[in-house]
């Protein structure tokens, strides 16, 4: 067992040495794999961040409750307090009919026309903000129905359309990323396969001699598999570097933009799990590509 591990360690370092001996070719392969892996993982981070935006977006799932005429200031305040006590509600703002009128005047520019009215036609409004984890279409719909049941509520309104649309879009993007990741993963396998195919053919004579002195296919395969694994791993690392660099470059302008909108939103990089998946995927795909290539060509190379 110990000698087995030792032998693997030797092959590992031998393969590392082989890669170092052809730095240009190795770096080319690593770069191509890096770019192929960076694309889906970069998009993944982007989607993940957008998801964060939509969740933290102030007022994404704002529900407006238009109260019945004659509820009065006191009644409205009492109702606001009651709603504040609900588990899925983060905050409730009260807007009196007078405030509503002032805002309408300011926004609509119909000031003069409004002056002609003898009394304020606008109802009192409660603006309900759900908690962050209730801020998704299903929970919002449920909260909306609860609020509708309340006596003093005349009309409860939620602009779900854009939330739903964003959700659908994100879902679509997610699926798109999986398809893209699958295709680019396949590309990595093919790239690695082609690289290893050339390496195998380049060492044809050596393989023939090894077969003649009693080397097994497993023995011949081993350094190629390590080469594939190492290059894939390095490609994963390159992808990580690419994505992290791009994110670092974007952080500053995005934070500025966010502060303009008084949002607490900030960009997060690849987390530990995503990093592990990225490196693991690189290594496994590299190994797989070389495994396929070596197995295909090893049989053809027989001593003559």
């Amino acid at each position: 067992m110990k000698t087995y591990l030792l032998r693997h360690l030797q092959v590992f370092f031998y393969s590392l040495g082989q890669l170092a001996r052809t730095p240009f070719a190795s770096l080319m392969t690593i770069a191509v794999i890096g770019i192929a892996l960076a694309l889906p993982s970069g998009l993944y981070v982007l989607i993940d961040n957008i998801q964060g935006v939509s969740a933290g977006w102030d007022g994404s799932g704002k529900i407006s409750l238009f109260l019945k005429q004659g509820t009065g200031d006191k009644g409205a305040q009492r109702l606001a307090k009651k709603i504040r006590g609900m588990a899925t509600v983060a905050a409730v703002d009260y807007m009196s009919p007078d405030q509503a009128l002032a805002e309408f005047r300011r926004l609509s520019g119909f000031g003069d026309a409004l002056d002609a009215l003898s009394e304020n036609p606008l109802p009192a409004v409660l603006i309900v903000r759900p908690t962050a984890n209730a801020d998704n279409p299903t929970n919002l719909e449920q909260l909306l129905n609860e609020l509708r049941q309340l006596d003093q509520v005349d009309l409860a309104q939620l602009d779900l359309a854009w939330v739903k649309r964003l959700y659908a879009l994100l879902q679509l993007a997610r699926r798109g990323i999986w398809i893209l990741a699958l295709l680019l993963g396949l590309a990595v396998v093919l790239i690695m396969g082609n690289t290893i195919r050339l390496a195998v053919l380049n060492r044809r004579d050596e393989i023939e001699v090894i077969k003649l002195v009693g080397g097994t296919n497993a023995f011949i395969r081993r350094p190629f598999l390590y080469t594939g694994l190492l290059q894939g791993l390095a490609g994963g690392l390159a992808a990580w570097g690419l994505v992290s660099t791009v994110l670092a470059l974007l952080t500053q302008p995005i934070n500025e933009l966010a502060s303009l909108y008084a949002s607490r939103f900030s960009v997060h990089a690849l987390d530990a799990r995503a990093t592990a998946v990225l490196l693991g995927a690189g290594a496994v795909l590299g190994w797989l590509g070389s495994r396929i290539a070596v197995s295909r060509h090893l049989h053809d190379i027989e001593p003559k």
């Binding site: 004579d205 023939e208 001699v209 090894i210 002195v213 097994t216 003559k304």
Partner: protein, 224 residues
């Protein structure tokens, strides 16, 4: 040790390189395989090492029926058969030491053991001082001797050689044949394909002669 009965090899294209060969080579025996160019000497050796498979007939080497060996078993079988090639088949990007070490490395022999046995083999062929040299910097005779060291380094019970003195001068040829003879005297079964009648006469060993793929002469199990 090597036993052929009615072995025929037909190459793709239809040419029968060896036809209906019968012979037995006993354990610890030494023999020369002679014949004109194209007689089938190399083909016969390739059949023994499973580089080629017989079209017909049965071949038993080292108690193994070659027809029954699977692809997976071939490497382990070959570890017991040392082969010396006319064109040496050395790896030119590795030192003499690494070339000789190859059969031990593929067999998973421990590191320290490898160094000891490689030096012993190089010493036997008189090239211990060249262990760090690359084959390209060695003469033809020296390369041939590296090839011989590689063939015997893991002490195989059978040693085959295809024209091992093909392009060497007489003195060097004598030296190399004496080396094979020495291995034979310590118990290795040796079969050498050669044109070199001078060596055949000099060493007085059993002779098998091929002509147009057929075994036309066998001096018998006794030395001539």
């Amino acid at each position: 040790m090597i036993s052929f009965s009615n072995v025929t090899k037909r190459y793709p294209g239809g040419h029968e390189a060896v036809k209906n060969i019968n012979f037995d080579l006993a354990r610890e025996e030494m023999a020369f395989l002679t014949g004109h160019s194209g007689a089938g000497k190399s083909t016969l050796l390739k059949l023994i090492t499973l580089i080629e498979r017989p079209t017909r007939g049965q071949a038993i080497v080292n108690n193994k029926n070659l027809a029954r060996l699977t692809r997976r078993q071939i490497p382990y079988f070959r570890r017991d058969v040392g082969i010396v090639f006319q064109d040496y088949k050395l790896l030119y990007d590795r030192t003499a030491f690494d070339n000789v070490a190859l059969p031990l490395v593929v067999a998973g022999v421990p590191h320290r053991e490898i160094a000891r046995r490689v030096r012993a083999a190089l010493d036997k062929v008189g090239l211990l001082h060249k262990e760090r040299a690359y084959p390209i910097t060695l003469s033809g005779g020296e390369q041939q001797r590296i090839g011989i060291a590689r063939a015997v380094v893991n002490k195989p019970p059978v040693l085959l050689a295809d024209e091992p003195t093909g392009n060497l001068d007489e003195a060097l040829s004598d030296e190399i044949m004496d080396l094979f003879h020495a291995f034979n005297q310590v118990g290795v079964t040796v079969l050498i394909a050669t044109h070199d009648q001078r060596q055949v006469r000099r060493l007085q060993k059993r002779v098998l002669e091929l002509r147009q793929g057929e075994m036309v002469y066998d001096s018998g199990t006794k030395d001539i």
